[in-house]
């Protein structure tokens, strides 16, 4: 039994979330804003507890739960993502008439699940964390319960998510059957003792099933089908949340599982990762071109981004993990910023969601258009914006690992992908303005846009905090 304070952030979130739930049940929906801010405070306290301890290595709960630098970095990103998603929600939810106190609490619970995923050191802990996260997500996807689209999104997500969880569980049971353990360290030792010999076929099948389950959670092709529908149907702050924290947690989990217990089976999984990475980049770039709904477009964009991050995993090196970590941090900022801009798209008391509604934004609201353009150029990976550096470090790892073909394909798809980001810039800057958006959108989005915008714009000046954190995170995975 290790030092229990290593899991302090998780305890804080779990206990506060339950307390807030009780409070909310008695205070009712009037308390929504208060509970939202309290939840952000809880996340901040958890972040403080996380940093106070640092990333010193510890294993708790009979080897189920691991804390290291990698977990520290990823948990930071998840906490920031969750806090941003709660921060941007109240105004939107009030205008849509869905301001219920459960929203921040559900996010807290799913954040708890994500923290457990990131720290999972056993297939069972992995599954428990994943399910805690997913169950909360199914509910908030359908949070707008009077809207058919939102309900459909929730149901679709639930059915497909349950299917993928089943696959993952089945794979885990196969692995347990053939390797005799669910603990990551035991598995790693077992595969190390193979010394390059091919593992049992059943084990490989199990590995493939686990990967399928994880690929579903990160929304990589060919397990991406739920993404556009869920992104489109869910209320916009929920979509923003989906694109931030769960993605980070799932990718962290993917990386930990592949490079932890299955590191010695790299020959078996590397080609799968390369294949889904290429497929995701291609689909993300090509399918987005025809989209007219901005949220669907962002769904395909996120699929593409996952493809780029998986390049780092395909490299399977420390540089690759560092690339993923940096990419995730940058992706967090620019995606949160983009969704902040999307939340501004309101006319006559209603959300508008087609990209044509952005026409001429540079005339009607130049500041918003400039921020949106910064995020779009960054997503397209044009230097000197942050998105370029995300891609740079990932491709650096790919070239280092000798994956030239993957790097060339990745960069060429990024050229194709830049087309649809530029189309949004074109709509905002080149086209004639349509009716302006509502102005009284609440003050809370402004600091969000300024913060993420400045981060995206000026990342190139001073990147060492992110770089150092990412380097520490990556070396933690390769310490053993």
């Amino acid at each position: 039994m290790g030092p229990i304070d290593a899991a302090l952030p998780e305890f804080i979130i779990a206990l506060s979330a339950m307390a807030l739930l009780m409070y909310g049940a008695f205070a009712g929906d009037r308390a929504t804003r208060g509970i939202s801010y309290a939840s952000i405070l809880v996340l901040a306290v958890a972040a403080v507890a996380l940093s106070a301890r640092g990333g010193a290595y510890a294993v708790l709960f009979g080897g189920q739960f691991i804390v290291d630098q990698f977990a520290l970095f990823m948990k930071w990103l998840v906490l920031i993502g969750a806090a941003l998603a709660i921060w941007m929600a109240p105004g939107f939810n009030e205008r849509e008439g869905i301001a219920r106190f459960e929203y921040p609490i559900l996010i807290l619970f799913s954040t708890l699940g994500m923290l457990m995923m990131i720290s999972a050191n056993n297939l069972i802990a992995l599954y428990v964390g994943l399910e805690l996260q997913s169950l909360a997500l199914y509910v908030i996807a359908a949070f707008h319960r009077d809207s058919a689209r939102s309900s459909e999104a929730g149901l679709k997500y639930f059915v497909l998510g349950a299917l993928s969880s089943g696959m993952l569980l089945y794979g885990a049971s196969l692995i347990y059957g053939f390797a005799g353990s669910t603990g990551f360290e035991t598995l790693a030792r077992a595969f190390e003792s193979l010394e390059g010999q091919a593992p049992a076929l059943g084990l490989v099948v199990g590995l493939v099933f686990v990967m399928a389950g994880l690929a579903f959670k990160v929304a990589a092709v060919p397990f991406h089908m739920w993404t556009p529908d869920v992104y489109e149907g869910a209320p916009t702050p929920v979509t923003a949340f989906f694109s931030l924290s769960p993605k980070i947690a799932a990718l962290a989990l993917f990386v930990r599982v592949m490079l932890g217990p299955f590191a010695d089976l790299m020959a078996q999984w590397q080609q799968i990762v390369i294949a889904i990475s290429i497929a995701s980049m291609l689909l993300g770039a090509l399918a987005a071109i025809r989209q007219t709904n901005i949220k669907r477009l962002m769904a395909y964009s996120s699929i593409g981004h996952v493809g780029y991050m998986l390049i780092g995993l395909a490299a399977g090196t420390e540089a690759g993990v560092r690339g993923i970590a940096i990419y995730l941090a940058i992706y967090l900022a620019m995606n949160a910023g983009t969704f902040g801009c999307i939340l501004y798209m309101r006319r006559r008391g209603k959300m508008v969601e087609t990209i044509d509604d952005l026409a001429g934004l540079a005339r009607t609201n130049p500041t918003l258009a400039a921020a949106f353009a910064v995020f779009m150029f960054s997503m397209a990976g044009i230097p000197p914006l942050a998105g370029f550096f995300g891609k740079l470090y990932v491709f650096l790892a790919a070239v280092d690992a000798g994956l030239y073909t993957l790097a060339v394909i990745g960069l060429l798809t990024s050229v194709v992908g830049s087309y649809y980001y530029m189309r949004i810039v074109k709509l905002m800057y080149f086209d004639e303005p349509s009716e302006p958006f509502e102005r009284d959108i609440g003050a809370e989005l402004r600091p969000l846009l300024i913060g993420t915008g400045l981060f995206t714009l000026l990342f190139f000046l001073w990147q060492s905090p992110v770089l150092d954190g990412a380097s520490a995170a990556a070396s933690a995975l390769f310490a053993g």
Partner: protein
């Protein structure tokens, strides 16, 4: 003086001006007026500062001068590393020279969103100057690619009717080329463990690797130059861009490709540069002859000048890859000359476009009767483009042809036909626009150059004649760097041969 971070000042002063414009408040008229004034004074100050680079430049040295180096991304050994030598010096000055001219040329022509326009131009200036000064590859790439953002907006927002198509074509073509260069940069970084250009020049890359790296850079530079057959974005972009956008595009952005060949391909990849020389020769000769013939058939003035740019840049690539002293001198001077002359020709088109809102040659005729001053100015640049002795064009074309003659007489012969064709299409253009009777009614009241336009053209005329009459002022600072480049090339080839023989 020497202790000042002069290069950084020249590079980032325009950005400071852009930030200042960003915070100008007031109604639209005031903002526009102030934005124009700030942009003009900032770019003039930048130009004056850049002249200090010229005066302070030590022509005898082939080393990088005004060097600044500071850690930037220490964990990857990437630094903020700036410096210029005889090869980059005049590109920096060309960039700072053309920007105030562009601002002045857009004074009345740009009426909407003046603030954004001026910001775009000042940011563009920072990126252009930075690109020519950068000695670290990642920094270089940052500036090189960053240029796309303001240029995309300039073409797309203030361009002509088909601006959207042109802006996208420009953006996607250039981006596709540059990402392949990025791969090559990363591969170099892993081979040599550094992104500093001087280090990489000293590092001898293995021959087989050089070929791939060279192709990666070629993809990017060939699109930028542009070389046939990837030149098709250029006529579109030029025709649709606003006048000042065309000026910068022709004046500076095209030079990025030529500069890249001389700065990167030749010294870092000497074996591959020799290996691929026939390809360059072939493409350049095709470009010179084919695009000259195409230019002869154009009815749109801007398109004609755009095609002539492709032909003129063909001389640059030939001169560069002759790997002779004169050839590289010629390539550099040709780029300078083309930077001034084609920029001025686009401005000439802009003058009549502002008055008649047509770029078609058929709209005009007999302008000499109403616009004698304009006719004279146009003539200077037309002759500069043709390469008449005494103008800048002659020096560049002559030297690159001397180099070509030493390397390959057939290439020199075929390229020379391009000069004849060049004279044909330029004189033909001039005759149709300027001479002949003034029969069209709408031209009867056209006005000659305004004082502002004279201020725009005077420095360009002076530069054209200065390079033509006293090229020594420009050649002297280049010479040491070019000799060093060629010596380095010989040594690198010798080293490579000895490795190959030892391996046998």
């Amino acid at each position: 003086m020497r202790d000042w971070p002069l290069l950084s000042l020249v590079t980032f002063l325009p950005t400071a001006g852009a930030l200042f414009i960003l915070f100008v408040r007031g109604d639209e008229q005031t903002v526009a007026r102030n934005a124009r004034a700030v942009a003009l004074w900032t770019s003039l100050a930048t130009f004056v500062l850049s002249l200090l680079l010229w005066t302070g430049f030590d022509s005898a040295s082939s080393d990088f001068q005004f060097v600044e180096r500071a850690p930037w991304i220490p964990s990857f050994n990437i630094s903020y590393y700036m410096g210029i030598d005889g090869i980059s010096l005049f590109f920096v000055i060309l960039s700072t020279f053309l920007t105030p001219i562009c601002v002045l040329a857009s004074w009345d022509a740009i009426k909407v969103r003046v603030r954004e326009y001026m910001i775009a131009f000042l940011i563009l200036e920072t990126l252009m100057v930075g690109m020519f000064c950068a000695l670290d590859f990642i920094l270089f790439y940052l500036f090189f690619e960053g240029v796309l953002i303001p240029m995309f907006l300039i073409i797309g927002v203030w361009g002509g009717p088909r601006r959207v198509y042109s802006a996208f074509k420009f953006f996607l073509y250039t981006l596709a080329g540059s990402v392949l260069m990025l791969i090559a940069i990363l591969a170099m970084y892993f081979e040599a463990g550094s992104t500093s250009m001087p280090d990489l020049m000293r590092y001898g890359f293995p021959a087989s690797m050089q070929l791939w790296l060279w192709l990666g850079f070629f993809a990017s530079f060939a699109v930028k130059v542009p070389m046939w057959p990837v030149h098709t974005w250029l006529p579109d972009a030029h025709v649709e861009a606003p006048t000042a956008g065309s000026v910068i595009l022709a004046g500076v952005l095209l030079k990025m490709g030529g500069y890249g060949f001389i700065r990167i391909s030749l010294p870092m990849l000497p074996y591959a540069s020799e290996y691929f020389t026939p390809v360059i020769y072939t493409l350049s000769v095709v470009a010179i002859i084919y695009t000259s013939l195409v230019a002869l058939a154009q009815e749109d003035m801007k398109k004609l000048i755009a095609y002539s740019s492709v032909a003129h840049m063909g001389f640059v690539t030939i001169g560069t890859f002759t790997l002779t002293f004169q050839g590289i001198q010629g390539a550099l001077v040709q780029m300078l000359s083309h930077g001034v002359v084609s920029a001025a020709l686009f401005l000439c088109v802009g003058v009549v476009y502002d008055r008649m809102h047509s770029r078609l040659i058929a709209t005009y005729g007999g302008l000499v009767h109403r616009m004698p001053m304009y006719a004279a100015v146009f003539m200077v640049f037309m002759l500069g483009s043709v390469g008449l002795p005494g103008t800048s064009g002659f020096v560049g074309e002559f030297l690159s042809l001397v180099g070509a003659f030493r390397a390959n007489t057939w290439v020199a012969f075929l390229a020379t036909t391009g000069i004849i064709l060049g004279a044909a299409y330029m004189l033909y253009l001039y005759r149709r626009v300027i001479f002949g009777p003034l029969v069209k009614n709408e031209l009867k009241n056209i006005l000659d150059l305004s004082p502002r336009e004279i201020a725009v053209f005077a420095p360009l005329v002076a530069a054209t004649l200065l390079i033509g009459i006293y090229p020594g002022a420009f050649l002297d600072p280049m010479n040491a760097s070019i000799s060093a480049l060629l010596d380095h090339h010989k040594q690198a080839m010798a080293a490579l041969h000895s490795v190959t023989f030892a391996g046998r």
